[in-house]
Amino acid sequence: MATSTVDFNTLLIKRLRSKDTTALDYLYDHYSDALYGIIYRTLNHKEIAEETLHEVFMKIWDQIDSYDDKKGTLFTWMYRIARNRAIDARRSKDFKSSDKSDDITGFVDMFETSNNNEDYIGLSTVLNEIGQMCKKLIQLNFFEGYSHAEISENEEMPLGTVKTRLRNCLKQIKQKLRRDFE
C-alpha cells in the first residue's frame, strides 16, 4: 500500500545520492514550503527561519546517504531534520538574546489562520471535527517543536496522556479523511 510515492522517491533519492543538482532543485520546489511551515512556526522569526531552512537543505544534500527507509519516509526524514534544526536554533544563545520568547505562551491557533491551500481532501472540515485540544496538541508538538514534557507542563496534563492523545488525534484525522474519501 505504501508504493505510491515510494518508487518516485527511490529515483529521487538515487539522484540526490549521485549529487544531481536538478534533483535538489526538484526537492526544494516540492518540499521547501512544507518544511518552512514547521521551521517558521517553531521560531516565529523570518530571517532566522530562512537561515535555518538553508541549513536544513544543506544537511539533506550532505547527508542523503544516511537516509534509511526503514526508519520512515523521505518526508519524515526531512521533517525530523527541519524540526530538530529549528529547535536547536530556538535554544541557541543568539536566538534567546534576540528578545524572542521560547515558551509556549502566546499560542495562536494556526488552523484558524490557514492560508487558502486547496482543500481537496476536506482537511479543514475534518480539523473542525477533532476538537480544540487535539488541534492544540498537534500544533505544539508537530509544528512548533515543543516536547511532550514541555506540553505536559504547560497544559497541566500527565506526560503519558499527552503521548497517547497525540496518537489518537492523528489517528482520528486519518480515519476521518478516509471516511470522506469513501
Binding site: 518516485f8 529515483l11 526544494y28 520546489d29 526508519k71 518526508f75 482543500d119 508537530f142 511532550h148 496518537r167
Partner: protein, 261 residues
Amino acid sequence: MSREEILNDGYLAAYITEELSTADAQEVETFLETDQEIQDEFYNLQKTVETLSFKYAISPSEVVKRMIMEDHKVISHMRGGSDTTGSGYKLALAASVIIALTSLVSAFYFWNQWQNTDYRLAQLTARNIELAESFNTVNQELSDIRQDLAVLVSPEFSRIILNGTDNAAESKAVIYWNPIEEEVYLNSANLASLPQNQQYQLWALIDGVPVDAGVFDAESGTFQIMKNIAQADAFAVTVEESGGAESPTLSTMQVYGEAAI
C-alpha cells in the same frame, strides 16, 4: 513494551518526532522490521503528518532557493565548465575548438533532453502507481463487501440482535456468529461514539460467566471481526477504559442479546 503498547500508547507518533529513548526507539524499530500492522500504522501516521505539513505550508522568500542552489557545496556539483588550454597550429586549434564547442553544445542539448525525459517518465510512473493504488483500494473494498455479504447469506451464521439496556435504550448492535467455525462478526453502527480514553468491549456469557470477545470502537461501514467464540448463551457490550478490561463493568452495559441456539 508490547505490540499493543506500541500501537495504542503513542510510541509511533513519538518515534516520528524522535522523542523516544534510544532503547524504546530500538524496540520500535525491531517491530517495524517484521510487523505488518505496525508498519501500516506507522505509515499512516507519517502520511497524516505529511498531509498536515503540506496543508499548512508557508512559502519562504525567493532568495533562499538561490542561496541553496549557489551554495559552494551544491555549485561544485553543477555539470559542465571544465576547460583546457594548449598550443599548436592556430588553424588546427581553431578547428578543434569549434568541434569541441559543437560537441559540448550538442552534448548539453542531449543531456538536457535526457533530463527532461527522465523527469517526465518519473512523473508518469508516479501517476501510474497512484492509479494502480486506487484501483487496489477499490478492489480491496469490493472484496471486503463480498466477504460481508457471504456472512449475511450464510446458513452457518446466526444473527443475534443486541438491544439497548436502560443505559442506552436507543443503542443496538448486531452479531453474526458461527459457533462451528467460532467466528464472530459485529456491526456496531448503532452505538454512540465514545470519548478517546474509552472503548466498547464485547463479552460472551457462558453459564453466566463473561468471556472477553474483544474491544472495538463504534464504526459504520463493514463488520468488525471479533475474537473467536465457540460457546455462548448471550452476548453483551460494556464500556471500558481503552484497551479493555479483565472483567466487565456491568453498570456500563450498553446492549445485550441472547443467543438462540
